[in-house]
């Protein structure tokens, strides 16, 4: 009776905790918790029903939470929603922060973080191309490379996909500010108009490179024009700025790299403002800024500091030895300002590319016109020690918009499903449960073999050493009455 009561109490104590077992694993997950006040809803998939409703059938396994303790890996499927609708994003791992047990994971060392996009979709976009028209573009046939890359069929196809409505506006910028290509603002509606515009009007202008001003204009004043506002609203388009340059932001011949730090800070503060909820922009109409550099990077190893905000230090931007060097005639001959481009892309919610040839530029433009994705996998690898008890994983969007959610994950403290196998990119792929037979079949076979081993060895030994002894002398057959010796309790048979 006591046992029944104890059993009942202990079973009942497990109910109502809202934990969801993950099929094909020994892991359970709690209810995802959303952070209030964010612009987007970050939906972490935790149930099979969620996944079946939102992802392709062959990707349901990837959508479900997965913990591979032997390899120290955790995988979560998630997507963004706005007003209960899916909000596709062109997300990469730079755009999201992953937290484990309340601490933000940093890549490098034993830690690896990856974001895998799934289910690509084209969304309506207004592409604003900002092409550097400064006189340096005439050197080495740079403008020709740009023209050819912009006319590549793949690039045209990326800007004007057949299944979705997009528009393109092209500007050239010099020290006279950004000017619409062809002299007047024209919203290009198809590939034919676009090709004609690039072929007929993309030429080298003259003057310095007012890159920051051009980006500021494209993400501010230009988007505020009523006609553009109407266009964005009518087709629910997202503005995407793609800025191409071959050098440095350069306002006068006396400019040094260090001078650009303050200008860049101003631009970054502007970008942060126009992309912030306080600015009143709907995430759907929020501009993203992609930057494309044509040439060799001046600082190939540069990475935007993790803790960097919108205030830029001159030595951080230029490197200590370049702070006071002139851009005109010095730095611009050594390479392009990839540090500025990366910083702008980071704050602008886009990506930065630095390429030197036509194919590379084509790839960069295609990347800037990237597809959005319906849902994503967040994968991270840490030391398995940190998976030896339940943990909370947090996902936080750090560009495009604000979104954050977390989920408590409970791997079993006693058992694990079969460990995964290494797949492409070194990430673990979940093994089917039948892998258990790889263990059970040999184990049972071995135990069975060992069970028979005793009898087998015993009989083998007897068969080898217990043969009938050959008679050493002829013996007479036993008399008849000897054959009827008293019956033993049991006699006969052979061993």
């Amino acid at each position: 009776m006591i046992l029944r009561v104890l059993f009942g109490v202990s079973l009942l104590s497990g109910c109502g905790d809202g934990l969801t077992p993950i099929p094909n694993t020994t892991t359970r997950v709690g209810r995802p918790e959303l952070v209030d006040g964010t612009e987007l809803e970050l939906k972490i998939f935790t149930t099979l029903e969620d996944c079946r409703a939102r992802v392709q059938p062959d990707e349901v396994d990837l959508c479900m939470p997965y913990v591979d303790r032997s390899n120290g890996e955790v995988r979560l499927g998630f997507q963004f929603r706005l007003d209960s609708d899916v909000f596709p994003l062109p997300l990469t791992q730079e755009h999201i922060k992953v937290g484990h047990l309340g601490r933000e994971l940093q890549g490098g060392g034993a830690n690896t973080i990856n974001v895998v996009p799934h289910d690509p979709v084209r969304s309506p976009q207004l592409f604003i191309l900002l092409i550097d028209g400064s006189s340096s573009m005439a050197q080495g046939g740079r403008m020709e490379k740009v023209r050819k890359s912009l006319l590549m069929p793949e690039v045209v196809g990326a800007f004007f996909p057949s299944d979705i409505r997009t528009r393109v506006v092209v500007f050239q910028f010099t020290d006279r500010g950004p000017k619409p290509l062809g002299g007047r603002l024209q919203v290009l509606e198809n590939g034919r108009e676009y090709r004609k515009m690039i072929r007929d009007h993309l030429r080298v202008q003259s003057g310095y490179t007012h890159l920051y001003d051009a980006i500021r204009y494209a993400t501010g004043e230009f988007l505020q024009q009523q006609a553009i506002q109407d266009l964005l609203t009518l087709y629910e388009m997202t503005p995407t700025v793609v800025a191409l340059t071959d050098g440095f932001n350069n306002v006068s011949s006396r400019d040094t790299c260090g001078v650009n730090a303050e200008r860049l800070s101003t631009l970054l503060q502007h970008l942060e403002r126009v992309r912030s909820p306080e600015y009143g922009s709907d995430p759907r109409s929020r501009p993203s800024v992609y930057t494309v550099g044509l040439g060799r990077p001046l600082r190939p190893q540069f990475e935007v500091p993790r803790s960097a905000g919108t205030t830029v230090g001159a030595s951080v931007l230029c490197g200590r030895r370049n702070v006071n060097r002139r851009i005109d005639g010095d730095l611009e001959n050594r390479g392009i300002d990839n540090a500025s481009l990366e910083w702008i892309a980071k704050v602008g919610g886009g990506a930065s590319y630095v390429r030197q040839d036509r194919e590379g530029l084509g790839e960069a433009f295609r990347g800037a016109a990237a597809e959005r994705y319906h849902w994503f996998e967040a994968r991270y690898r840490i030391h398995p020690y940190y998976l030896r008890r339940s943990f909370r994983t947090t996902l936080r969007l750090i560009s495009f918009a604000t979104a954050e959610a977390s989920v408590e994950i409970y791997p079993s403290a006693w058992l694990d499903a079969p460990p995964g196998e290494k797949g492409e990119g070194g990430w673990t792929v979940q093994r089917p449960y039948r892998f258990i037979m790889v263990l059970l079949a040999p184990a049972f076979g071995m135990l069975l073999l060992l069970s028979y081993m005793g009898a087998a060895v015993f009989n083998a030994k007897r068969s080898m050493f217990m043969r009938v002894r050959q008679p050493r002398a002829p013996t007479e057959p036993a008399p008849e009455d000897h054959q009827s010796e008293p019956d033993p309790p049991v006699e006969g048979g052979s061993l």
């Binding site: 184990a443 135990l447 060992l450």
Partner: protein, 333 residues
């Protein structure tokens, strides 16, 4: 488990170990299948109780069912024993887990250790050691009740040792290499627990075997007689060439006297050979030869203990007969 496939050698002590290890593995695979395929809705805090009580029950089942198979009991005779023993093991294991987790841990640990001990999601041998030991004890208690307390020390100490061994295997396999892998650890738990349980708790008893005398020489080769009586009473079997009244006849031409040798078994199933003839009589075994020729000056015949595989040589030279003493499954009669 089949007594006919387990010869009377030292290796027989491992038979139950292999059998219980198989069931331990099967128990682990069963629990894992429930977790992975049926997605149980109980709280994670019950995982340990479910796993340990299932393994305890499975291994107890293996022990009882294995014994029933060896004794060739009928199905109806065995069912209630198997059900009762298994249920006892499961219930005791559940109760023990609860006592360990909810009572002992709370009394012993304090501070951070108390938090860790209460954290049911923590993978740790330190805070689960007692749970393994008590579950092992439970796996020995179930069969012990059915065996009416016979071999109580083996069951209790062996069961507890088995549970601890399983826990240690689980821990070591979990932390092998750099990582943590409770898949192989779980398999190690079931296998090691079952193996040690089968090895220590209940060995195959001698009463399942009987001693036989078997003719190894040319005349009457392979004739054999059991030494034990059906009722288990002490018995003595005589070998000679008398035509009447002896248990095993061997021809005089082979150097066998009228009543040459006898083999006796006492109430504790110890076997003894006695030389009853003036003719040569030897018991041979590995690196040993014992002369049992009767010495009229002695008040009693010479005798020696017999063990399976010993040979008894009667006569010598060209006229010699040879017997073998061998232990065979009693059911073979």
């Amino acid at each position: 488990m089949n007594i006919f496939l387990i010869p009377y050698t030292w290796y027989r002590h491992l038979a139950m170990a292999f059998w219980c290890a198989s069931w331990g593995l099967a128990g682990w695979a069963g629990v894992l299948t429930i977790f992975v395929k049926l997605s149980p809705s109980w709280h994670p805090a019950l995982d340990g109780s479910v796993l340990l009580s299932t393994l305890s029950g499975t291994i107890a089942f293996a022990s009882i069912a294995g014994e029933a198979a060896l004794r060739r009991r009928s199905l109806l005779q065995s069912v209630w024993r198997v059900v009762l023993g298994t249920s006892l093991a499961v219930l005791i294991a559940m109760l023990a887990y609860w006592v360990w987790g909810e009572v002992f841990n709370r009394l012993v640990y304090s501070g951070d250790a108390a938090i860790d001990a209460a954290d049911s999601s923590l993978v740790s041998l330190r805070y689960r050691f007692g749970a393994f030991a008590l579950a092992g004890l439970a796996s020995g208690l179930g069969p012990l009740v059915l065996r009416k307390g016979s071999g109580w020390f083996n069951h209790l100490a062996g069961g507890m040792a088995a549970g601890i061994t399983g826990g240690v295997a689980w821990h070591l396999l979990n932390y092998q290499g750099h990582g943590s892998d409770l898949f192989w650890a779980g398999a190690g738990l079931g296998g090691a627990w079952g193996f040690v349980h089968g090895l220590l708790c209940w060995g195959i008893p001698n009463e399942l075997y009987a001693g036989w005398l078997r003719v190894m020489s040319w005349n009457r080769y392979s004739r054999r007689i059991p030494v034990d009586s059906l009722d288990g009473q002490p018995t003595e079997r005589f070998v000679g060439h008398f035509t009447r009244g002896l248990d095993l006849f061997l021809p005089a031409d082979d150097g066998v006297m009228e009543m040459h040798v006898s083999v006796a078994v006492d109430e504790e199933q110890r076997y003894t050979a006695r030389g009853l003839s003036l003719q040569p009589t030897r018991v041979r075994r590995f690196l040993e030869s014992i002369n049992l020729r009767y010495d009229p000056r002695r008040p009693a015949p010479l005798a020696t203990k017999l063990s399976s595989g010993d040979r008894i040589e009667l006569g010598e030279g060209a006229h010699q007969a040879e017997l073998e003493f061998v232990m065979l499954p009693k059911e073979e009669r």
